[in-house]
């Protein structure tokens, strides 16, 4: 079959991209979602806190997702569930599989990649010890608890203080488990302050910074873990080991964009984000293939995923309608001095609608800094920050007007210390 636009992934990114493409005049859209329903991981994120930026109210994950699902239904956008894309070619040929249609092939004019991300595992951390049952990624545990209604353990240690880990600490506690502690390798948490207070402090769950799990014990089921303090190189310090009895270890140790299809299509990947390099329209290195959401870079708030994905949908529509400019006038973006990465990576000012939201993450916790954007020596933007942390995305909005006046071939984003 031939389609104008195929969107791979029906989570928040894919849904927003589909809606915006439709609103920009594209009618022939197909969303391919691998799960049994639309909404992606939001369906298991039953806690609230979603939507403050987009809807100016606090929603739970399923509520946030449903608003977009309703919109997709209302706009009559077609989707296929339980549909896994097995192959994506450079030529935008897609092979997918589902129980109803079996194997099917699609030739797409444009594609939006919205596959999201997956969790880092015990294997990636290489935690020594035995290999018993009872070690779960926080997301797998969340699925069992919130979707299937099963408890994964009674005495729990959580490694990693990212938001999913914090949320699961509260969730397990509310369902009757004893969460003994949250152990964090870094000297700070990448989770929201609000979650540290309301998920840990409310229930007197200790949060140990500069600690890690150095061994897993238990032959068949987890019987405990050894934790240890780490030095400033994040290496365990001998003699600080402590055995903690537990039957469950939850891992909340980072997310990795799921770019298997992206790689297969030979799209250029940014080694820092593990996601595709994208331009001002969220277009990848292959013309007509766009990407948005956590498959590009891991976001802190779903609201930003939505904003970015609207842009990808807009970009795909522009491409399909032949309105995208391919002029040579372009420049790159670059993060320096404390800015780990910037998305998007390439800007063609002509294609910018009104402004570009640049998303970035810092490499460490800094206090009292200026976030500045420079075109050569010229400072285009400066904003004072009392506090920045790798856990929170920073966001800089630059208007089309400013972007059109950029003279150099590189826009540099960096932090600068403020003398007090």
């Amino acid at each position: 079959m031939e389609r104008d636009l195929v969107i791979i992934g029906g989570g928040p990114a894919g849904l927003a991209a589909a809606i915006e493409a439709k609103k920009n005049g594209i009618d022939d859209i197909l969303i391919l979602e691998r799960d049994k329903r639309l909404g992606g991981i939001l369906q298991q994120c039953i806690h609230n806190g979603f939507g403050l930026h987009v809807f100016k109210e606090q929603l739970t994950g399923p509520e946030y997702a449903q608003r977009f699902i309703d919109e997709v239904e209302k706009l009559g956008i077609e989707y296929k569930l339980e549909s896994m894309v097995l192959h994506l070619g450079e030529d935008k040929k897609i092979i997918a599989l589902n129980p109803k249609d079996g194997l099917f092939e699609i030739e797409a004019k444009a594609v939006v990649l919205a596959m999201g991300c997956r969790e880092r595992t015990r294997g990636a951390l290489n935690i020594p010890g035995s290999r018993p049952a009872g070690v779960f990624t926080a997301g797998a545990a969340q699925r069992f608890v919130n979707m299937e209604g099963y408890m994964v353990g009674k005495k729990v240690v959580i490694l990693g203080s990212g938001d999913i880990g914090l949320i699961m600490a509260r969730r397990m506690t509310l369902e009757g488990a004893e969460v003994k502690m949250v152990v964090e390798l870094m000297p700070y948490s990448t989770g929201l302050k609000r979650n540290i207070v309301q998920c840990l402090e409310d229930f007197d769950i200790p949060l140990l910074f500069n600690h890690t799990v150095t061994k897993i014990h238990g032959k068949e089921r987890v019987e405990g873990v050894t934790i240890a303090k780490v030095d400033d190189k994040r290496q365990p310090i001998e003699g600080t080991e402590l055995f903690v009895e537990c039957d469950t270890l939850l891992l909340s140790v980072g997310l990795i964009p799921e770019n298997e299809l992206t790689r297969e299509a030979k799209i250029e990947i940014n080694p820092v984000t593990n996601g595709a390099y994208v331009n001002e329209l969220m277009e990848t290195s292959i013309e007509g293939i766009f990407a948005c959401g956590n498959v590009v870079h891991v976001h802190d708030l779903v609201d930003f995923v939505t904003q970015e994905s609207f842009l990808a949908g807009y970009g795909a529509a522009k491409y399909i309608k032949g309105e995208k400019s391919n002029s040579a006038n372009k420049f790159k973006t670059k993060g320096l001095n404390g800015i780990r990465y910037v998305v998007p990576n390439i800007i063609h000012p002509e294609n910018v609608k009104d402004a570009v939201n640049f998303y970035m993450r810092v490499s460490d916790v800094y206090h009292n800094v200026n976030l500045i954007v420079k075109d050569g020596d010229k400072v285009l933007y400066k904003s004072r920050k009392n506090h920045v942390s790798p856990g929170e995305m920073e966001n800089v909005k630059l208007s089309k007007d400013i972007l059109q006046k950029v003279e150099g071939d590189e826009l540099v984003f960096e932090l600068e210390e403020v003398a007090i």
């Binding site: 691998r34 339980e82 896994m84 097995l86 599989l97 589902n98 129980p99 109803k100 249609d101 079996g102 194997l103 997956r118 969790e119 595992t121 015990r122 294997g123 990636a124 290489n126 020594p128 010890g129 035995s130 290999r131 018993p132 049952a133 009872g134 990624t137 997301g139 797998a140 699925r143 069992f144 608890v145 299937e148 209604g149 099963y150 408890m151 994964v152 353990g153 009674k154 369902e175 150095t214 061994k215 897993i216 032959k219 068949e220 089921r221 365990p236 039957d247 799921e258 298997e260 790689r263």
Partner: protein, 474 residues
Amino acid sequence: MFDVAIIGAGIVGTSIARELSKYDLSCVVIEKSNDVSNGSTKANSGIVHAGYDAKEGTLKAKFNVLGSEMYEKICEELDVPYKRNGSLVLAFNDDDLRHIEMLYERGLKNGVKELSIIDKNTVLSLEPNIQDNVVGALYAKTGAIVSPFELAIALAENANENGVEFMFSTTVTNIYKENDVFNIETNNGKFKSRYLVNAAGLFSDEINDMLGGEKFKIIPRRGEYCLFDKSVGNIVTRTIFQTPSNKGKGILVSPTVHGNLFVGPNAIEMDKKDDVSTTKKGIEEILKGGSRSVKNINPRDIITSFAGIRATSDTGDFVINVPTKNAVNAAGIESPGLTASVAIAPYVVSLLENEGLRLTLKNNFIKHRTNTKLFIQMTDDEKKLALSSNSAYGRIICRCEHITEGDIINAIKRPLGARTVDGVKRRVRAGMGRCQGGFCMPRVVEILSRELNIPMTEILKSEEGSYILTGRTK
């Protein structure tokens, strides 16, 4: 009353079971674990050794070379992934060079075919990621790789299809002879058999003691491994050995039959036979060791690490003998045991025959396994057929390895089918990929529960006691 009881369902026990299933006999395999291949076999390097390693005249040398020659055919019959990728033993200095020359001579004496010694440039043209300070290598074209647990499962399935019974979760506690009949006492009742095979791996010394055979001791030697993502599975295409030292064979770097890369194992003597935990030191040791041979081994690409225990006997060789009348030991089958086991099996059967076991070939022996292909491996026509018979083949459960619900149901419904999450994983690879079951494990638990009609809370990861869920939330 059985004609033959085999104790142990690892690669040795299942090879022997399949060999015996060719004859008109009633056989039982008694296994203490709840699945095939749950001991040393599951954490084996998966190398089919060419046969230049073991000293001429040893049982190891004899059965290694024989086994290596038999492998391709057996894997073809049972549809088990096998790849003759060749192997290199690297030399980094003059001592090493002398050693590989010795191995070359030994290989010739052992009857290994297609052996050669190659120079530095040839090594690097074959394998560009070998460290530049290599000076030469022994090249064995007949070296191959296989998936050890898939082979053991396949052998067991095929034996079962041909009439061999399997008793799982059955631990032998005592054996005594009464009127020339073995009485095998277990936690699961008493079994009687006229002949007995001891293929109890790590515990084969204890079974030998029960049989009153000449004493030997199994010394558990643990080996740790790191498994790498498929994206780096082609760093090397051949199995890369280091020149053995008095400390052992050195660390291997090898692709797997499924396109991953592994590094390992080290060798640590253990007090206990069941401690398969990994250590920080051990993992560092193997990564460092691997990097001596091969460039660009990045710990960031590790998807899991694990350890296995070799059943090394204190005799220095395999123990294949008759401990008491009508019984055969196939014990101490450490490296190159995986390779040797397929050749040991017919030899054990011949020893049983010597003891008086009457062998009559069956005329209805089923040589091949059927319905073994994963959906993703099928041709387009086969895929269509599979989908029309069961739409579950259209539902991907394991995203990393593209394993469908149909594949998983097949793994459960096959002869001696999977009953645990690890059982599914070893049969059809769901959960073997880079996310290590993060997405699919909850789904696999659900499918096991539904297909076996047992509650979710009773689904195990692996052994008895390895429960995954502790109850309902409400």
